[in-house]
């Protein structure tokens, strides 16, 4: 399984033909207490860089962009009951949605864990 990161602080796990998307630990730390996540509907087509979800902290609403193009296959129902999972387990249980991968070459420009860490350290 390969994990990629975007400069918008999303992570994406590639497993076979499906990708799982969430926001990074750095992102949840910046957002603070998350009280609601608006997830995309299953079947929705999302485009790389397009709005896919909205995460609401106590302070503000922030868009989450699709890191790649594809179709949403599943949304994390656990976040409806417990949006704070994004704070407590951002890169595991607090995943946002699973999607198909329309074009694997879109992954090429993304960062690996080491590059993403360097990216955050420089912020």
């Amino acid at each position: 399984m390969a994990r990629y990161f975007t400069d918008e602080h999303e992570w994406i796990d590639l497993e076979g033909d499906l990708a799982t998307v969430g926001i990074t630990d750095y992102a949840q730390g910046q957002l603070g207490d998350i009280v609601f996540v608006e997830l995309p509907e299953v079947g929705k087509m999302v485009e790389k860089g397009g709005e896919a979800a909205v995460v609401e902290s106590v302070k503000a609403a922030s868009d989450v962009y699709a890191p790649i193009t594809g179709e949403v296959m599943e949304a994390n129902a656990a976040l409806e009951e417990d949006p704070a999972l994004v704070n407590t387990s951002p890169e595991e249980d607090g995943w946002f949605f699973r999607m198909t991968v329309a074009d694997k070459s879109e992954l090429d420009g993304l960062m690996d864990a080491k590059a993403y860490k360097a990216f955050c350290d420089a912020l």
């Binding site: 207490d33 009280v35 609601f36 503000a60």
Partner: protein, 383 residues
């Protein structure tokens, strides 16, 4: 994805050069996340907004509000001069008392909301940070030349808020009378660690609490002293906003502006009784008419169904008709659901009215509810 945070209005740069306040280094040493607010670097949070919010509701939180303007007015015929500018009745404001008032334009629109206290031979005003320069300009323009306006910009202002604030502060504040003699909206002169301070029993959280005006050079020492008490933790602007929203208190620039009248905002108590008939303050004609006849819209509390917050700018509907706009909204940590304040057409403003709020093309069910959302717990004296 952090654009929402970075573009939040509260972090907008108001002045070209961001100023620093006396506790700047202190906040950073406490691990605060600093943002630009009202022209200054201010702490938005330390450990997290929800934890800080809950701590203030159950214990005591220390807020740095040194960005606010502290003004001292003095001079001949001071009361008459100030009554020409504010809708306050100063004949009933005694030494040691503080009162809420409003700075109004000629049309009765709100330029700022503020606190007025009677000091010996002077009146002490606390005005909002983002509006203080405009307020000073307005007061200088409209007050007679004989009135002296001192901007006490060497003073810091700390608020200690919460049910355990009195216990913690009483260990350090000494004065002519004990701190417990101060009731809500009273103030007095005290000493903390050898520094002369003024303490008012007031605040912006709905809890019992105090606002302490102190010399800026003593701010770090006194902040350390208070945060050394087991009941006290530093609290940032984020929780200050969620606490005041639960308390149903307006935030200038969001809930109040030159386009709102104090009557529609439910702030008619800021127009003191004598002034409602005598007038003689800016906007008196319109405001005194509105007090008698009512207004076309009212500022109301809304309980939002579900968990999705409705925020400032969201439109309020009754069926297909747009009947209002949200001016403040968010998730209530104390209640566990979203709440909002909105101006709505008066025929839809009664508690219990079912309305809808549009958020990102979705309609959220909302009900008009009485405010405050969380009951005030001001200290009005021992029973």
């Amino acid at each position: 994805m952090l654009s929402g945070l970075l573009m939040s209005e509260d972090t907008e740069v108001v002045e070209p050069e961001t100023g620093t306040l006396p506790l700047d280094a202190w906040h950073r040493a406490q691990g605060a996340r600093m943002v630009e607010f009202a022209g200054y670097w201010m702490p938005i949070q330390y450990e997290g907004i929800v934890a800080e919010h809950e701590w203030t509701r159950t214990s005591a939180g220390l807020f740095d509000v040194s960005h606010m303007g502290q003004l001292l007015l003095s001079g001949p015929d001071l009361d008459a001069a100030v009554e020409a500018v504010l809708p306050i009745d100063l004949s009933t404001l005694k030494l040691g008392q503080q009162r809420y008032s409003l700075l109004l334009d000629e049309e009765g629109g709100v330029l700022d909301d503020l606190m007025v206290s009677r000091w010996p031979e002077s009146l002490y005003l606390v005005v909002n940070g983002a509006t203080k320069w405009d307020d000073i300009g307005h007061l200088r323009e409209y007050l007679p030349d004989e009135i002296t306006l001192n901007h006490l910009d060497e003073q810091a202002l700390l608020a200690l808020q919460g049910p355990k604030a009195a216990d913690a502060l009483a260990r350090h504040a000494t004065g002519e009378y004990p701190l417990s003699a101060l009731t809500f909206m009273k103030f007095g002169r005290f000493t903390i660690a050898g520094h002369d301070v003024t303490i008012a029993r007031a605040g912006y959280t709905g809890e019992d609490g105090f606002e302490i005006s102190l010399p800026g050079h003593a701010a770090a020492e006194i902040a350390d002293l208070l945060c050394g008490e087991p009941e006290v933790k530093p609290i940032g602007l984020g929780a200050r906003d969620s606490l005041r929203l639960e308390a149903g208190l307006p935030l200038y620039g969001h809930d109040l502006s030159p386009e709102t009248s104090p009557v529609e905002a439910g702030l008619a108590f800021g127009i003191n009784k004598r002034r409602r008939t005598d007038g003689g303050y800016p906007g008196a004609e319109r405001i005194n008419r509105e007090i008698v006849e009512g207004t076309a819209r009212k500022w109301v509390g809304l309980k939002v169904e579900g968990r999705m917050p409705a925020r400032e700018g969201a439109e309020v509907y009754a069926g297909t008709a747009k009947v209002g706009t949200v001016t403040s909204g968010g998730f209530s940590p104390s209640l566990g659901y979203p709440i909002a304040m909105a101006y709505v057409a008066s025929e839809h403003a009664a508690p219990g009215t079912a309305l809808e709020i549009e958020v990102r093309s979705k309609r959220l069910a909302a009900t008009v509810v009485p405010t405050p959302f969380v009951p005030h717990r001001y200290y009005r004296g021992s029973k």
